[in-house]
Amino acid sequence: MSAVVSSSVTPPGGQRRKVSRFNSGLTRALIAEVGAVILTVFTWAGLRTFQNSLEIGAPGPQIALGIEIALGLLVLIVPAYGARAIVRSRQARHLAFERRILDARAAAEDSRDDVLWVVGLGLVAAIVANGTFFLAGHHARVRSVLFNWDLIWRFRVALFHGFVWNVKLFLVAEVLVLVWALFVAVIRQLPGRAFGPIRVIAIVYADVFRGIPTIIVIYLIVFGFPLAGVEPFASHMSPNTQLFWLGTLSLVLVYGAYVAEVYRSGLEGVHWSQSAAARSLGLSQWQTLRHVVIPQAVRRILPPLLNDFVALQKDTALVGLVGLAEILNISSILKSQTFNLSPVTGAAAFFLIVTIPFTRLVDYLIKRDKARTQAG
């Protein structure tokens, strides 16, 4: 079916030069279009099932229908690209018959571009269609058990109060981790045999706390310290305050070990010639570290450091497992009351509200710093 035209060009020299066979790509365009139409119908079916599920399960917000219609119309773009691919491919074939071989190839390339659009957007449509089928599945129970918007909205204040604990946990822990991990990393960098034993302790610390699951560290410290009567955690603290500080301590110990490694790679990544230049100006070892090595190390470790911070922010939920009234704990109580997991989904949303902008901010800061210190 595809138009294959053998062509050749006669160069000025008069000698005929064999040129590769021309393919207008019509078969490819037709297959893409058939696939696009099937996918469109499939997506429409998914959206329709989802709309039906709104009527039998918990009622959804009114904008749902609007979104469904919009998605249903948007998916038409896929077969539209397929159609244009066919048209362009046929144009290419005509041009080839007229021996306008360069125009023909250009048209065939356009057709191929359209097919790529069909594949790219088609994958998106397939994800939307599967998502709607999944949410509408089991007589809409997936949607109503996991994503009941009414429940999330009803408990928003309780969830928020829980989340305040998480925010406090990660803010305090992050500040402490920054200082503590730098301390550990610098100890590991100390030169000379005199510091050998303390270097070993720093290495053992990092290995141990990176090797134990965070939840076990939290269990041991949060349950163990009060039981063993470790001051100042044992007495005169309200239960939540006690849990908060013990939880913070656990997170600082675990993430301090990770971040110390991040710092270390950053410190080692600063070329020794920078230290040599600083020392040659008469700066002491400490001044060199303080003014030349650490500032450059911090810049290069920003991405991995903030990765660890996002992980820490998420792991604050583990402190809920040992009793702190943070957001996972609250949502888990609400789950038991309502026999519905939507409050937990709400808790997840709270985390996203913090972590996604945080990640974006970090990307922005890195970009800005690069623009400032590096040439175009």
Partner: protein
């Protein structure tokens, strides 16, 4: 005239590899001594030993009559007196030009910030870079970076400058602006020990040229004699290869 910088039978090893095999050398005050020789002959190592970025294993280095090698030396004080400029500039990339120049005066000499800026102002003006004081090193050309690096060392008002092949990493058209600055310093009487491949420059500014070969001084003498009538066969071979490469 007393010998300002004196190296006495200096030996330096990297592991089993003997890089300096008994170098003895004197630099008088206001002299410019140029070290020439093939790559790996120990020129850079020699310079790095003088301001104690490398330790020597045998021999002695004296500055103004005082021992500055081995134990018990105040390295930070020594380095205030001895400035070094590197082949790869080594400006601090996270600091502006001005901060690069004022860092050591404020932190080491404990100058007041405004005094350090005044000092930097005069120096940067001299190389026409005061307008670029807020730029970061990566935005400057190699020649500009190297001139800032020289000025950064000068801001400590050293009594001796070590220049370690400071034009080797530069594009050819940027070499002149750096060498001009060094020539001016020489005329002003700055004592300098210079490792270089720029033979024309060495002939112009040097009071003494030292040919270093395999960690030893093969031959030393005034530039006229060294370049016109070298006594050693090795010096002749080295200079011939430089001429054949059209670098002289």
């Amino acid at each position: 005239m007393s010998t300002f910088l004196e190296l006495i039978d200096v030996h330096k090893y990297f592991g089993d590899n003997e890089v300096l095999r008994g170098v003895s050398l004197g630099v008088e005050e206001h002299q410019v001594v140029c070290l020439i020789g093939p790559s790996g002959c120990g020129k850079s190592t020699l310079l790095r030993c003088v301001n104690a970025l490398e330790m020597i294993q045998q021999g002695e280095i004296r500055l103004d009559g005082e021992r500055v090698s081995g134990r018990g030396v105040d390295l930070n004080a020594l380095r205030q007196d001895v400035g070094i400029v590197f082949q790869s500039f080594n400006l601090f990339p996270h600091m502006s030009v001005l901060d690069n120049v004022t860092l050591a005066p404020t932190k080491v000499l404990k100058l007041h910030q405004s005094d350090a800026v005044d000092r930097a102002h005069a120096l940067l003006d001299r190389i026409g870079m005061w307008e670029k004081r807020d730029d970061y090193p990566d935005r400057l050309s190699g020649g500009q970076q190297q001139r800032v690096a020289i000025v950064r060392a000068l801001a400590m008002q050293p009594r001796l400058m070590l220049l370690d092949e400071i034009t080797s990493a530069l594009d050819p058209e940027l070499v002149a602006e750096v060498l001009t600055l060094v020539g001016e310093l020489a005329r002003e009487g700055m004592t300098m020990l210079i490792a270089t491949h720029e033979m024309g420059f060495a002939r112009d500014v040097a009071s003494k040229v030292v040919f270093l070969y395999a960690g030893q001084i093969e031959e030393a003498g005034p530039p006229d004699q060294m370049f016109r009538d070298p006594h050693s066969e090795r010096t002749r071979t080295f200079l011939r290869s430089i001429i054949e490469a059209k670098r002289m």
